[in-house]
């Protein structure tokens, strides 16, 4: 077998291992779904009517606040998935099994690839669940079949970017606890964008940050695809952020793994 097919085979082995973990210990996976669902319930039913009144001038593409809120919360599911990757990679590192893999004649990228692909699958399943809950709560997207494909593409790309970044974080973190804390700012970032309320409603300094941070164009792209609100150049910017972050995260994680931070 060629080294390429060994790389594929090793990555599949690692992926099976991670999916087995997820299946046997679903706690962490459930926590990916739990947080966005709680946020969805909280913002829609507790703050919903007040927020809806405040942003009545903004086109939501639908009749109610949930139509504005759901795309933002769907994106937050992807950030929660990153946390699971960071914790999983760091746990493997502190338990010494990473060093075992590093002394074996296996494809060097396969350990990380297995983690990342496993997390992307888990996160996409979680996103599907969150979309389902939103639909039950009255979310009525207007997306066509092709737009749904595009939505799946954007979310996969975003998850891939965040997951590679998280894999690197998991390798440099000293303990699984700190690995779960480092990505927290990532989870807060959508709040400082257009996830919950439009950036127009924010004070000037914050608005400037909100408009230029990576999550806002991604949220606006998702919202446009789901609800038919204007997308403009958000799609191109979102794509650039996702692809750029994926490459940066991948190269960083690979180099940390190869050069050892064996902790």
């Amino acid at each position: 077998m060629s080294s390429m097919s060994y790389a594929l085979r090793d990555s599949m082995t690692m992926l099976r291992r991670n999916l087995k973990h997820a299946q046997r210990y679903p706690g962490l996976t459930l926590s990916i779904v739990g947080t966005p669902i709680v946020l969805l319930l909280l913002f829609n039913y507790v703050f919903g009517s007040a927020l809806a009144a405040g942003i009545s001038g903004t086109p939501t593409g639908g009749g109610s606040y949930i139509d504005y809120l759901a795309p933002g919360i769907i994106l937050m599911t992807a950030t929660a998935g990153a946390l699971v990757t960071a914790v999983g990679v760091c746990t493997d590192k502190t338990e010494g099994i990473v060093n075992r893999f590093r002394t074996m004649a296996i494809s060097r990228a396969s350990f990380l690839t297995g983690h990342v692909v496993g997390s992307v699958i888990q996160t996409l399943v979680s996103i599907a669940l969150v979309v389902g809950v939103a639909l039950l709560m009255g979310f009525r997207p207007s997306a066509t079949f092709l737009e749904w494909i595009a939505i799946a593409g954007v979310l996969t790309l975003l998850t891939l970017a965040l997951t590679w970044l998280a894999a690197g974080i998991g390798l440099v973190a000293r303990s699984p606890e700190s690995a779960s804390n480092i990505p927290l700012p990532l989870q807060f970032l959508p709040f400082l964008g257009s996830a919950i309320v439009p950036t127009d409603s924010m004070p000037a300094g914050l608005r400037w940050f909100a408009e230029y941070q990576p999550f806002t164009p991604i949220i606006e792209t998702l919202r446009g695809l789901l609800m038919g609100t204007p997308i403009g150049d958000s799609a191109a910017i979102a794509l650039a952020w996702c692809v750029g972050l994926t490459f940066a995260g991948y190269l960083w994680a690979r180099s940390v793994f190869a050069h050892g931070a064996t902790g």
Partner: protein, 328 residues
Amino acid sequence: MASSSATTLKPAISAAGLSKSYGDKVVLDGIDLRIPEGSIFALLGPNGAGKTTTVNILSTLIPADAGQAHVAGHDVAREGDAVRAAIGVTGQFSAVDNLLTAEENLLLMADLNHLPRREGRRRTADLLGRFDLTESARKPVVTFSGGMRRKLDLAMTLVGDPRIIFLDEPTTGLDPRSRRIMWEIIRSLVADGVTIFLTTQYLEEADQLADRIAVLDHGKLVAEGTAEELKRRIPGGHIRLRFADVSTLESAAALFGSVTSDRDELTLNIPSDGGVPALRSVLDVLDGASIEAEALTVHTPDLDDVFLTLTGHPRSGDDAPAQKESIR
């Protein structure tokens, strides 16, 4: 366990001038090694001596700052993949997947060694039986005791049938019974012609298992040889005799040349390597003079004696690197 002259020509592991520093702290200071195929080699030293660093360099986990090393005929720096294909490593902290069962851990190793499915299952069943883990095969490893975990760790290393095995402190922290079991397993491995590189803090362990022992202290090899050769260089061993009263003690002390006697304890210490001939000659001398000893104990040199003799300073513990740093 002695290797034939044909195999000694090609060492399984060789190193010249291996060095490694972290910042201004020198961990390895020019190590030379030559380990013949099919033998057990023990690297003996206290915590912080550089044992794990040596294993990490030879197993391609970290690069050396200077020097060369060949494992299974391949350069560890340039031919990492070829080295990794020939070796198995069981580190100081058991590298097992806690969330999987013992069987799944072994099957994972079989997959990563690219074994055909059936062969992987066969070796897994075989190793579970050999390491007495069959009954626990389907239990999650997280429930395992330290001894079972170490056994599984070593079994995982063996799935790939490595020709050279690194064992970094394989019995540290194990109870005496698990330690004996581990020793049995390690001995059985060499019978198949495997080369073993072992690190340990215990002279007894090196003595029990190794063909050759090297003593590592502060990143330097301070002695190398067989267990017998090392012990001969160490004067810490003695035979202690206890007598019924002071007069017997004194007449016995007069029979032996350079001895230390303790009049309160009524004991006599006679320097000795603790071997049977030495013991017999002591008893013969006592018999010849019709003196009877109440009790006899043999004290063999321990690691503390080895260190005191070879390095001129007592064995230092975990705090050694910190002390060394503060001196600079």
